[in-house]
Symmetry: C2
Subunit: 400 residues, 2 copies
């Protein structure tokens, strides 16, 4: 039997096909649908230049949550900077899905990813929607996750189980994202499904709570995308779930949702364009959590730090410089830095350290950088990857 | 006769030697001295982690301007993150120069560039200072500019002449900088000499006026350095110069100083690590000049834009996305973008354009990107370079 992830929670079906938008002939149109109306919450990019599909989603869910039947996603063309005609195309995608599912167009979310500034090939898209709708079921999850990928090399999915109100609840998610990944909703499209029963506003609140430490903690190249969309669909099929923000069930649900988003976010960083390593930047002792995030992301976005890590160079001076250039308060004389658990700089002074041990750590597939600012109690962990020649090759040589 | 630049203005001598700090055996210690006390103004990095030489300069010129006899510079080791011992080393460099020139240590500026976190090899440095002092004259300018280079491939100098108060005035400058180049005083050390007669506070004001559109308009990799220092020394030997900010002579002096700084800044961008092209990002129509600068730098710092330019790809969508992600106000429907003078996006809609012509422009050594935001009258031009595999090679493979 095929692996299930996005349809693992009860009440969901999905289907995907190759509609011919990607030149590679790989799957590029996917539909994820609830068997009946589901509760949905979305978050979209903060980029002022945003895609027409984002405009559509904001139009149908002006408060960020409501009732939704399905989401349709295509890769290969992002439908950004295409004006009113592009908005019409996004709406046409929703209408076609609605026709197939027997719901209203305003109950269908749309997300597109790929090159900016080109119109969607609508004939191919609409035929693809028909074909994907015909495949809706629980056996197509692998094709669905492949259909939303662009430069991604790895499929990204996560499934978490949690017990709420005496029932087993499943939270599952898929995500795409590899380049144009930056602070606010890493370039990315992610769909999360759950069979929990959650009121719309509470689902939106839960999503907002978890993105800060997950999708918003990832940066590959500091380039915030125009198409970022995270959608959570809750079918309620499990017959249990959090009722209010004060409940223990809510905390457990948020933890499960955070686990799914965190696993997807780390998978995005690890699969960053050209990445050979997943890198975590943990900042402690900042004046506050917001300052810790600024400091951690300053290091995570530093090309010099990322090149040094790629080359296995324990050049901690670049980490200190990246912390110091940030808008977060940093006092060199209180600053300590560790790489792979080894202290290399302590309270403003270089420390003799086992270079061979640090080099060994840097050769691994996961690199851990820790900075203690010694100023307060703020903490944050950012996720990124190393910067390699392959990033340049992907973004310079392969013309779009 | 050897080319003169930094000693072109009357009243200056310079000398440089290879003291053995650089493993390559190239020149690495330089002294630039006025024949008698000169007026000096300095600006230093905004990075909170700053070098001990920067601390020394701020100590001796607490208001940013005053009377200075010389500046001593070494490359190969930046004396950053070295604590009190490092500050003592910087002071020792000033003292040694002062001893050779017969002035006070507090009349000698110090600048160091190179790897962070290592103590200076003081025995070599002090011997180098003695040797450089013995060479002081007007024939060593080429060695001086080479002595301040690190990963720079090209020597950067500029000489400008201007007529003030009926006298010929010369403004000359040298600079180093290639990586760790970012918004606030591109990583860089620059020394500017002039034979104009300028009061200290006015010289400082003039320097502050010109850096915004020159050194602060350059970004190679968004990494603000810990050692940035720009020092202007005015000998007064020409016997003329601006007396007050209200005079026409002051405007002409600022223009000459701006020309020198602008030429050095563009040379830094063109010589960015791994650069094959100089790229200008001109933003017009922003809500204000400050917003224009934010928008222009957002594009100039975008790895995706820089990779596309490297690959000769007219991918204007990445330019639109980089403008949209910035903190400056951008309205897609009012936005227009040109590459090499060709409009590719006009008021929110893609424009059919001559792709061959734009590709031809992108193959050249200078690339021009123009964005009109259509919101106000703010303008700014940022300077950067393309992002190539060579940047990764320089910063990952060559261990420091």
């Amino acid at each position: 039997m095929a692996t299930r992830h996005i349809t693992a929670p009860a009440g969901f079906v999905a289907g995907a096909v190759a509609a011919g938008i990607k030149q590679s002939g790989k799957p590029d149109v996917a539909i994820i649908a609830a068997e009946s109306l589901a509760i949905a919450a979305i978050l979209t990019t903060r980029n002022q230049v945003f895609g027409e599909p984002v405009r559509w989603c904001r139009r149908i869910l002006p408060r960020g949550s409501g009732r939704i039947r399905a989401i349709v996603i295509n890769a290969g063309c992002s439908n950004v900077c295409t004006g009113a005609a592009g908005f019409h195309d996004a709406a046409a995608m929703a209408k076609r899905v609605a026709k197939r599912l027997g719901c209203r167009a305003e109950q269908v979310l749309v997300a597109s990813t790929g090159i900016i500034g080109h119109r969607l090939p609508m004939r191919k898209i609409l035929a693809g929607i028909d074909a994907a709708a015909a495949r809706l079921g629980v056996g197509d999850d692998e094709a669905v996750v492949r259909a939303i990928m662009t430069t991604d090399l790895k499929e990204k999915s996560a499934v978490v189980h949690v017990r709420l109100g005496g029932k087993d609840i499943t939270v599952a998610g898929i995500a795409k994202g590899s380049g144009m990944i930056a602070p606010h909703l890493a370039t990315m499209i992610s769909v999360i499904t759950t069979d929990a029963l959650v009121p719309p506003a509470l689902l939106h609140k839960a999503l907002r709570e978890v993105v800060g430490g997950t999708f918003n903690a990832v940066t590959v190249d500091s380039d915030t995308s125009t198409s970022d969309t995270v959608a959570v669909l809750a079918s309620g099929a499990a017959g249990a779930g959090p009722r209010s923000a004060a409940s223990g069930d809510y905390r457990r649900f948020v933890k499960a949702l955070g686990d799914v988003c965190g696993r997807l976010a780390r998978a995005i960083a690890a699969d960053g364009e050209g990445a050979t390593k997943l890198v975590s930047i943990e900042v402690r002792g900042a004046l506050g959590d917001a300052e810790a995030a600024i400091a951690a992301k300053s290091v995570a976005d530093s090309p010099l730090v990322k090149c040094a890590i790629h080359g296995g160079d324990p050049n901690w001076g670049r980490i200190a410089a990246a912390l110091g250039k940030s808008a977060a308060k940093v006092s060199p004389e209180k600053l300590s830095i560790r790489i792979g658990g080894v202290t290399v700089f302590a309270r403003g002074r270089p420390k003799a350290f086992d270079i061979a041990k640090v080099r060994q750590h840097l050769r691994g597939s996961e690199v851990r950088v820790q900075a203690r600012l010694g100023l307060g109690r703020g903490t944050f962990t950012a996720w990124t990857c190393d910067l390699s020649r392959q990033y340049i090759a992907i973004n310079a040589d392969y013309h779009t």
